[in-house]
């Protein structure tokens, strides 16, 4: 059953990745990247159980933190850096 969850997460990662690569606007990319980050958190959590050693959930916590900080940094840059949004 962890395999089912893992497949679901991987498929979602792929779709978010495609959106992040294709754009079209900068905000689409940021949204997709943010969502991709959340999915990596789930990935780490499920992987721990799948491989039979679920003690390393600290990793997933780091991913949440870093993903958030990354998104905020990107947005701050979008506001002040005069990014071409297309």
């Amino acid at each position: 059953m962890f395999i089912a969850a893992m497949i679901g997460v991987l498929i979602t990662m792929l779709m978010a990745l495609v959106r992040a690569l294709s754009g079209p606007t900068v905000f689409d990319r940021i949204l997709a990247v943010n969502m991709f980050g959340t999915k990596t958190v789930l990935f780490i959590a499920v992987l721990g159980f799948l491989s039979g050693r679920p003690e390393f959930l600290d990793l997933a916590l780091v991913y949440v933190l870093i993903n958030f900080i990354g998104t905020i940094a990107i947005l701050k840059f979008v506001r002040f850096g005069k990014v071409e949004t297309a």
């Binding site: 959106r19 959930l57 947005l75 979008v78 949004t85």
Partner: protein
């Protein structure tokens, strides 16, 4: 009792995986940025919560479950704020929602 927990976690995990996949499909197929945000919302809240709660049921009453609770709290704390900030930045930069198609139909 164990069996109930087992099936419950099974159901939650597959529900979560399904919701994630639906959200992924949404972010790929929906027409514009603002509608795609709805799709991202599904995966970030309900999808993640289902998967994480399913894992919690698996790990029982242990340190791992506590860590999973922390992850869930962090996700709930960060993900809506991030989505909100993205939407706000998009709005301020002058990105308009796509509404033309609907008017055409009416």
């Amino acid at each position: 009792m164990d069996l109930i927990v087992y099936y419950a976690s099974w159901a939650l995990l597959s529900c979560g995986a399904f919701l994630c996949a639906v959200g992924g499909l949404g972010i790929l197929r929906l027409p514009d940025f603002y509608s795609r945000q709805h799709a991202a919302g599904i995966t970030d809240t309900l999808g993640s919560a289902f998967v994480l709660i399913g894992l919690m049921l698996q790990s029982g009453f242990s340190l791992n479950a506590a860590k999973l609770v922390m992850i869930l709290i962090f996700l709930i704390l960060t993900s809506p704020v991030a989505t909100h900030a993205i939407a706000q930045a998009a709005r301020q930069s002058g990105l308009e929602p796509k509404v033309v198609a609907e008017e055409d139909e009416a």
